[in-house]
């Protein structure tokens, strides 16, 4: 029994069918391919986000080639960033980026970079601080801020710095500049980069791959059960015994089986179990979150709109995040000459304003926004369609790791249940890793191996990231986490002590330098009564005078005085903080009566 006719479900089914096992695939929708489907509208084809076939896993690559053979096209990749009516190569190329920015903006970018190098933000808790410390605030605000905020629906100041550190690992401007002069052609890195400059793509979109597998399964006597929504997972202790699906006519069909492969989102899988799993498992499943996705497909009465496969929209004047030009993915996506089909991608939350808007309104919005951007004339748009994709991205928030650990432990204890795929494992897998987990599950069922599917894509670095590090950051693969401060961190901040030596040194510099400068300015100016007032300081600083030697005496003794001042201040503040902290500790040990009262009724 396989729940889901997406890449993972169909891969497992086809591998099992070829090994002589009879799989039953239940697919709730009327199409196969899941997120990797290709939607057809009046002969025009639209992907959910444009799917490159790109992997470093040979097993997956061979599988693809085996199924689609010469139906694969090798396509050039062009993607750019659109900002302030100007295109920037993406991945970023420093020279062309600076050229596109123009002299003034490039100068400002340079100055803000310099400022970041000289006076970096002392804290690096969030994405904004992390990125602007490395690239300067200006470059950050052009290339990172708006797009990241659109994709994740959170402010960059709310996104943890860890995410940026992972995503933009070794990228720094110095390395980028160096890479422009030192060729690494022929190296592994170069080979991977070449792969990123072009990619495989089925003639009729990714959906063609999955429709082909559906047909192969049908021909081998295992047709995919379309329109069958698996709603109840019948459990007997730690075993799945059957799945009840509801078909389009509302009929309930119970399927029994020996092994169950699930590609449905873990949250839904757990909720469908009967009897329900332990409460902590249910709670963990309920805490999983997803980000949803909406494409407004437009048919445009014009060809050659722009040469890109897709464009990142960094303007905050519009809501659209990315624009796909499907004709550039494959000319076969368009049935009529002289026309284009484009997909405007909006990153949304199921039920939010955009998600719930009427299709006509969304199409109007799409027309208006592409017109505003100056990319397409609204009058050239002849038709449109809206495609909604719930649960496009599993979200890695502050709690997901703990929840997933609980869920994994439980799900692994259900001996004949095999969770695979993207939402099936709540992992940010592309098709290749979604498929690999399915291949592993099939091998486990066939008794050929004992793979741990949960380990797939856990340690491996996605080589697209590795390879493009030297040039630019993609900012789209990993999922950011909200910055959360633990109570320990909060208290650390509140009760942090001042370092007396550091405060002493800082005051020493300010006082010493201040007195030196004040004296030196007067000495340089000269004049008969110059410095009569300032020299009164020698009442406190023996040997001080408004002369050059006096300036140095002032520097040294001012520094000594400053140090003592700063040191004493820090010690005094620390003493007060310590008293406060120990009082608090005492109160926590012997709570006052009102603190023990249960206020929840």
């Amino acid at each position: 029994m396989i729940v889901g006719g997406g890449p993972a479900g169909l891969t497992a089914a086809w591998d099992l069918a070829r090994a002589g096992v009879a799989p039953i695939v239940l697919e709730k929708d009327s199409y196969v391919g899941g997120i990797s489907r290709t939607v057809q509208y009046k002969g025009y084809r639209f992907d959910i986000g444009g799917h490159r076939f790109f992997t470093k896993v040979d097993q997956v690559n061979d599988w693809w080639m085996d199924v689609l053979k010469d139906e694969f096209l090798l396509r050039p990749r062009l993607s750019r960033i659109f900002y302030n009516d100007v295109f920037f190569d993406y991945p970023l190329k420093p020279v062309s980026a600076l050229r596109s920015l123009g002299i003034i903006e490039a100068g400002l970018v340079g100055m803000s970079y310099l400022k970041a190098q000289l006076f970096p933000h002392p804290e690096e808790a969030n994405l904004e601080q992390w990125v602007s410390n490395r690239f300067g605030y200006r470059l950050y605000s052009i290339f990172f801020k708006t797009y990241t905020e659109k994709v994740w629906g959170m402010k960059c100041t709310e996104i943890g710095a860890d995410w940026a550190a992972q995503r933009i690992k070794n990228l720094d401007l110095k390395a980028a500049v160096k890479s422009m002069f030192i060729s690494n052609r022929g190296s592994k890195k170069q080979q991977i980069t070449t792969l990123i400059e072009q990619f495989h793509y089925p003639k009729f979109g990714p959906g063609q791959m999955w429709e082909k597998v559906r047909d192969l399964l049908g021909e081998s006597g295992h047709p995919v059960q379309m329109g069958h929504d698996a709603q109840v997972i019948h459990m007997d202790g730690r075993r799945v015994v059957a799945v009840t699906a509801v078909d389009r006519d509302g009929n309930r069909v119970r399927h029994e089986g020996e092994h169950f492969i699930s590609t449905m989102p873990i949250r839904e899988l757990i909720q469908a179990m009967d009897p329900p799993p332990p409460p902590e498992v249910l709670a963990a499943a309920n805490s999983l979150r997803y980000r949803d996705f909406l494409t407004v497909g437009l048919v445009v009465n014009k060809d050659k709109l722009f040469p890109d496969n897709w464009i990142y929209i960094h303007s905050d004047k519009v809501k659209v995040g990315r624009i796909q030009n499907f004709g550039n993915w494959s000319p076969f996506m368009i049935p009529e000459e002289g026309r284009s089909c484009i997909g405007l991608e909006y990153f949304v939350q199921e039920g939010d304003e955009l998600w719930s808007a009427k299709d006509e309104d969304l199409i109007e919005l799409g027309k208006k926004e592409t017109d505003t951007l100056g990319l397409i004339n609204a009058a050239d748009v002849v038709d449109g369609v809206v495609i909604r994709q719930p649960k496009a991205y599993p979200v890695y928030d502050g709690v997901y790791k703990d929840s997933l650990a609980t869920l994994k432990e439980y799900l692994q204890s259900v001996g004949n249940l095999h969770c695979v795929g993207r939402n099936g494992l709540h992992r940010y897998n592309n098709q290749d890793h979604s498929m690999l987990t399915a291949m592993y599950a099939a091998e486990n069922i066939l008794g050929k191996a004992k793979h741990d599917v949960w380990e797939v894509n856990l340690e491996e670095e996605y080589h697209e990231e590795k390879a493009t590090d030297a040039k630019g950051a993609t900012g789209e693969r990993l999922v950011p986490q909200r910055v959360t401060l633990s109570p320990v961190q909060v208290l650390e901040d509140a009760f942090a002590k001042y370092d007396p030596v550091a405060l002493g040194a800082a005051m020493a510099v300010v006082f010493g330098l201040g007195l030196f400068l004040a004296t030196a300015i007067l000495v340089v100016k000269g004049g008969p009564h110059m410095g009569t007032h300032l020299s009164l300081l020698n009442n406190y600083i023996p040997g001080y005078s408004v002369t050059w030697p006096g300036a140095f005496v002032g520097l040294i003794l001012g520094a000594v005085g400053g140090f003592l001042n700063g040191w004493t201040m820090a010690v005094a503040i620390n003493a007060v903080v310590t008293i406060h902290l120990s009082r608090l500790l005492k109160r926590l040990d012997n709570p006052a009566p009102y603190e023990t009262m249960d206020l929840e009724v």
């Binding site: 006076f119 002392p122 804290e123 690096e124 808790a125 109570p487 320990v488 208290l491 650390e492 901040d493 009760f495 942090a496 002590k497 001042y498 370092d499 030596v501 550091a502 405060l503 040194a505 800082a506 005051m507 510099v509 300010v510 330098l513 201040g514 004040a518 300015i521 007067l522 100016k525 110059m530 007032h533 902290l581 500790l585 926590l588 040990d589 709570p591 603190e595 023990t596």
Partner: protein, 113 residues
């Protein structure tokens, strides 16, 4: 609730050992406000209390050795506000910059923030 319920001893130790950082931008703004404010007020008080025929703030006006254009007058009060803010801001920034630098050198194991 007792202390042990919420934090382990180790966590309390961590809290007890935390070293504060200064936010350069915040310090610069605070010192700038202080510097500008104090100089403005000092000048304004002297201008308001000026007595006919007597020189107004002869000592304070010596500051124009450092701040060209400054004088103990109403326009001078505003010029002093700007100068005071600039010098105060620079001092605040320098103070926290040096402080954080020394803290980082002395406690390299402590994370930022």
């Amino acid at each position: 609730m007792s202390a042990d319920d919420s934090f382990t001893n180790k966590e309390w130790q961590v809290i007890g050992r935390a070293i504060a950082r200064l936010r350069a931008s915040v310090m610069a703004v605070v010192f700038a406000m202080l510097g500008g404010g104090v100089l403005f007020l000092a000048t304004a008080v002297l201008v308001v209390n000026a007595t006919e025929g007597m020189p107004v703030g002869p000592t304070l006006s010596l500051l124009n050795n450092y701040f060209p254009g400054y004088s103990v007058t109403w326009p001078g009060a505003f010029i002093g506000l700007v100068y005071g803010a600039i010098v105060g801001g620079a001092a605040g920034y320098l103070l926290s910059y040096v402080y954080n630098l020394v803290v980082e050198t002395r406690h390299p194991h402590m994370k930022k923030g």
